[in-house]
Amino acid sequence: MNDEKKILSVRDLEVVYTSGKKVVQAVNKVSFDMNKGETLALVGETGAGKTTIAKSILGILPNPPAKLIGGEIWLEGEELISMPDAKKLKIKGEKIAMIFQDPMTALNPLMTVGDQITEGLLLHNDYTKEEAIEKAEEMLELVGIPKARYVEYPFEFSGGMKQRVVIAMALACNPILLLADEPTTALDVTIQAQVLDLIKTLRVKHNTSMILITHDLGVVAETSDNVAVVYAGKIIEYATKKDLFLSPSHPYTIGLFNSLPSMTQGQKRLNPIIGSPPDPTCLPMGCSFAPRCPFVTEECSKEEIPFAEIAEGHFCRCCNLKQEEKTCH
């Protein structure tokens, strides 16, 4: 925590969801660090716990059913989980902001888009109403929306435009950390390209750090510095983008890459991961990926697999790395 560059540090984060008698371990002892200006991509499939991690950081987990049962989140030397609610309200939206997956539902349908941006500005700044409106109009222009549309309602905007509004809202107070939860999944490819570029430009301009949640490895390749692969509530591989794309080590990560239809090669059979993600209510002992892993051994299910550093800055949660390399590479 004494490291000047480090802005975010998550330690042993644990979140469970309860529905009736069922308990789902959504996030299981997740730890990672982030430096200022860095983009960390959280990659994984539906239900892996990516969004839950982001919502825990911002402190907007829906409780019930979700419950944060352990861990620490340090932002610029302050611990967020134990922070009193009133103080935390100042952090939300001012220091940490979030962009949501579905722009269609992320905006209040009964409020003009301008007012929704102004709302956050008034909360975290000493602006007068007029100043806030002016700033909000500035934000709209910044994300490529004419400021005349300040008074329009969300239904008058297309999906891509709504996402721009959401981005304007998130960046209005110059947060130091931006959580982007699948910001382009609901958009068309050409619009996705526009939005990704927009986020990138604005982020670089203000030196904002970002956690990008996505399932699209292409988006990861284009936007992130470091990558954490999440599977069944655990980070199973963490590396710089270059390391991860050039030498993916965990069998799951390798499987993900093999599942992608190639853009540069012709038609051939894919080598997908077999089976389906595990039932989150009863995760297997040891490695959660073991039932689907082609390299599974008896050791895999014995005990918790350590998160080992296999190369400098490249961590992997697998106990059979050596055998794998023989067969794979």
Binding site: E45, T46, S158, G160, M161, D188, V189, T190, I191, Q192, A193, Q194, L196, D197, H215, D216, L217, G218, V219, V220, A221, E222, T223, K241, K242, F245, L246, G255, L256, F257, N258, S259, L260, P261, S262, M263, T264, G266, Q267, R269, L270, N271, P272, I273, I274, S276, P277
Partner: protein, 316 residues
């Protein structure tokens, strides 16, 4: 003779503000055992095209030929025969299966309607054969759809489409709701089935990497019209239409050393309601000139490579 031939197909919808030209003057052929990919962004009419072809919706104009027979206006028994030959796999595995009907009954239903199987035992045998074919475990036959994950549900949808031994299946974004690893499994399944049965697909999707992986020929649609049609390799190596170029360049690439040179498009997809006469891509096209306000025709620029753009030769 092609398996399917579509000639100048049109499908318009009345909406409060005018006429939605969802599919406007589209023509192509699909051969037996071949896969035609149809790519486009949301609202370009690609799903409507598929549904109109298999007669789930009536065409506004044009012709659909199945094995040379005009089926555009088939009715009654003829339509039933047509539907046995042409099937569809839907995008959303959550809404495409009836939540109150068990897996087994869902797959059995087309078999019952075909009246090909006399006894219950025959029906059950055939159903189980289908389940095996698509890789749905037999012990799941008494399950309800909500008890299955997305991949398995999509397999059930495929089994239902295969039940009547069709010659042709429209796959309407069958993998876009699935996770990457499951998506690959379903793609493999579709390709295996094609190898085994010689079935033809029309693969409708917005995902260019998927369409490239599975198709022989690709059509690119923009606001109801075809803008480019070519064999898969041709389209990717020698992209001609400015929209296709932009579309291809917009896909985030996993190749971290050779990021794509991006063609940024201005604006968003315009409305297909009461469109202007000229090129529909006009407003967003970086190369637009006055001539583009004339109607654009799909022309054969190179062998088997069709493009609807009057400036295609100058640009490339």
């Amino acid at each position: 003779m092609s398996l399917i031939e579509v000639q100048n197909l049109k499908k318009y919808f009345k909406v409060p503000t005018g006429l939605n030209h969802a599919v406007d003057d589209v023509s192509f052929k699909i051969e037996k055992g071949e896969t035609l990919g149809v790519v486009g962004e949301s609202g370009c009419g690609k799903s409507t095209l598929g549904r109109t072809m298999i007669r789930l919706q009536d065409a506004t104009g044009g012709k659909i030929l199945l094995n040379g027979n005009d089926i555009t206006n088939a009715k009654g028994n003829e339509l039933r025969r047509v539907r046995e030959k042409m099937q569809i796999v839907f995008q959303d595995p959550y809404s495409s299966l009836n939540p109150r009907i068990r897996i087994e009954s869902t797959i059995m239903e087309p078999l019952r309607h075909s009246k090909l199987y006399k006894t219950k035992a025959e029906l059950k045998d055939q159903t189980h054969r289908l389940m095996e074919l698509v890789g749905v475990d037999e012990r799941l036959r008494q399950s309800y759809p909500h008890e299955l994950d997305g991949g398995r549900r999509q397999r059930v949808g495929i089994a239902r489409a295969l039940a009547l031994n069709p010659d042709f299946i429209v796959c309407d974004e069958p993998v876009s709701a699935l996770d990457v690893s499951i998506q690959a499994q379903v793609l493999n399944l579709l390709m295996d089935l094609q190898e085994k049965t010689g079935i033809a697909y029309m693969f409708v999707t917005h995902d260019l990497s998927v369409v490239r992986h599975i198709s022989n020929t690709i059509c690119v649609m923009y606001l109801g019209q075809l803008v480019e049609k070519a064999s898969t390799e041709d389209l990717f190596l020698n992209t001609l239409h400015p929209y296709t170029q932009a579309l291809l360049s917009a896909i985030p690439s996993t190749d971290i050393y050779h990021p794509m040179q991006r063609v940024q498009l201005k604006g968003e997809i315009t409305s297909p309601i009461n469109p202007e006469q000229g090129c529909r891509f006009l407003a967003r096209c970086p190369y637009a000139i006055k001539d583009c306000k004339q109607p654009q025709k799909l022309e054969e620029i190179e062998k088997n490579h069709y493009v609807a753009c009057c400036r295609v030769r100058e640009i490339n």
